[in-house]
């Protein structure tokens, strides 16, 4: 296989070759490091690359596999982490000058679980500063570019994760999501991004943006790969006070099961509204994806969730209020260390009243209840992931994200699992994502629907032209 073909293997494909001895983790890791060196000067998806550490881990993995000590499907798989995830002894910056020299003394729980599964860490990925909107050239860190069109953003805040997975610069990544920062870059970069149920994946050791909205999850080329990564990181963590003790199922067990008879709810009143801020090409593309799901035997049913209309008001109040609380000290003592966009947004969070915050949390409860009631009638909800395709860098300012309706934020408010899977391209060649959301802790059904669509549509056969 050529080096490019190696880097374009899925985790499942690579794992099979690694465990049968057809492929060495050393050769695979070297292929990725070479490709990063070749392409990342343009893509800027990495903040920190760890070639010596990665090769050492690859040699250890090779020895383990040769001796028959396979740890599981992630053993020997090169991955990268959003630079929000603490890595012991390796700087973790959150893409901010505020943390430019921060070197954690302990791995995040998710970092440790991936290492225990035998994954090989290639490096730390670029992101929007402190996981909040961007990209901001004043943050002092590289801005990742969209491999499908370098003049456009790859989405955020897990921007480097989206770009690196799409361009074959890592086999999988972890992103974080407070309002859409896993699914947004997944949609814009034509990859899969899974925001697991709140509490499903530990947030310990992940720099917080908003404690009650932050979620962690995988970003990969395929749905199955996301299921494999989720399997390694899901589960109770006593260090995270919001971690759930709900049992962890086998996330790959029902992939490939028919979706015939499943009911898919579509809140068209919100996601397909007659709103000039919602791109018509995106809606057309997603409607075509819904048709595919129908052809696969699912029943599409229009549903109404009235409180969706208030998510755009509620989510930022909660997010920015909690973010201000975390950053308050630094905002007062060294505001110049923040990039302009994030500084302004965090400062705004300090200006909301307590009754604003409480009201937003109460509206959130109404939304949770309405979604739960709807999910008694349907199995999952489907929609476009984003209201528009990836904007150009030239279009971005501090308010760009806030002005567009958020199609991802509602599922951060509710904590429901939600995935974005590629569903096509606009006439101008920009990727479009299909979002599937489900009942709390029902990742298996969400993955099953996404997998069924993915295998039928096969958008994963197309890689970006780089």
């Amino acid at each position: 296989m050529t080096a490019t073909e190696l880097c374009y293997l899925t985790i499942r494909e690579a794992s099979s070759r690694l465990q049968s001895g057809q492929l060495s983790p050393v050769d695979l890791t070297r292929a990725f490091l070479d490709r990063i060196e070749q392409l990342d000067g343009t893509l800027q998806s990495y903040i920190t690359v760890l070639p010596e550490r990665a090769m050492a881990a690859a040699r250890t993995a090779e020895a383990d596999l040769l001796q028959g000590h396979a740890k599981g499907p992630l053993h020997g798989i090169p991955i990268a982490l959003k630079d929000l995830y603490d890595t012991q002894g390796i700087r973790t910056t959150a893409s901010s000058r505020v943390m430019a020299d921060r070197v954690p003394t302990e791995d995040a729980t998710t970092t440790a679980r991936l290492e225990a599964a035998g994954a090989i860490l290639l490096g730390k990925l670029s992101m929007h500063e402190f996981a909040l909107g961007g990209p901001d050239p004043t943050c002092g860190f590289p801005l990742a570019r969209n491999p499908w069109n370098l003049d456009h953003i790859p989405g955020g805040s897990s921007s480097g994760s989206g770009a690196a997975v799409a361009a074959g610069l890592c086999m999988g990544s972890l992103g974080s999501c407070t309002g859409g920062s896993i699914r947004g870059p997944a949609a814009y970069s034509s990859i899969v991004g899974l925001k697991a149920t709140y509490g499903r994946v530990s947030r310990y050791g992940v720099v917080p943006l908003s404690w009650s909205l932050d979620h962690c999850g995988p970003m990969t080329w395929t749905v199955e790969d996301s299921a494999l990564m989720l399997q390694a990181i899901a589960g109770y963590d006593p260090k995270d006070p919001t971690s759930s003790q709900a049992p962890v199922p086998d996330y790959t067990a029902t992939l490939g099961s028919s979706i015939k008879g499943l009911t898919i709810g579509v809140p068209r009143h919100f996601f397909f509204a007659d709103d000039p801020r919602i791109d018509r090409d995106v809606l057309t593309t997603v409607d075509q994806a819904l048709q595919v799901l129908e052809e696969l035997g699912a029943r599409i049913q229009e549903v109404t969730i009235p409180t969706l209309d208030y998510c755009g008001a509620a989510q930022p109040v909660i997010m920015l209020s909690e973010a201000f609380a975390y950053h308050e000290q630094n905002l007062r003592t060294k505001p110049e260390a923040f990039g302009e966009m994030v500084r302004a947004r965090f400062r705004t969070g300090g200006l909301f009243s307590s009754s604003d915050y409480v009201q937003a949390q109460r509206v959130r409860n109404v939304l949770k209840r309405q979604c739960a009631e709807t999910l008694r009638q349907v199995d999952v909800l489907a929609s476009p992931t984003m209201s528009s395709p990836a904007p150009a860098f030239s279009e971005m300012d501090a308010m760009t994200t806030a002005r567009r309706p958020s199609f991802t934020g509602p599922y951060n408010l509710t904590g429901m699992p939600a995935i974005s899977v590629p569903c096509g391209f606009t006439p101008s060649g920009l990727p479009v994502g299909l979002q599937i959301a489900g009942k709390p802790f029902d990742e298996p059904t969400v993955l099953r629907v996404a997998y069924a669509y993915e295998q039928q549509a096969r958008w994963f056969d197309q890689r970006p032209p780089i």
Binding site: A313, P316, A344, R347, Q359, A360, V366, M399
Partner: protein, 67 residues
Amino acid sequence: MTTPDAISLEQFQILTERAGLNLTPDEVTALKPMYDFHAAQIRSLHEIPLDAEDLAVSFSPTWDPQA
């Protein structure tokens, strides 16, 4: 662009001082449009009749970090 219900620049400055932001006059002026944008949306939140609706986030006394 300010809406008819937007607070004045002077009132906004008091808000920023109360939050301990210590902004320069230029920074106050620059930040106000972002606040006005969110404030307009927040007004809609306060107009929803929620009766005795509970908070979405409740304190749980049962977490044991040693578990």
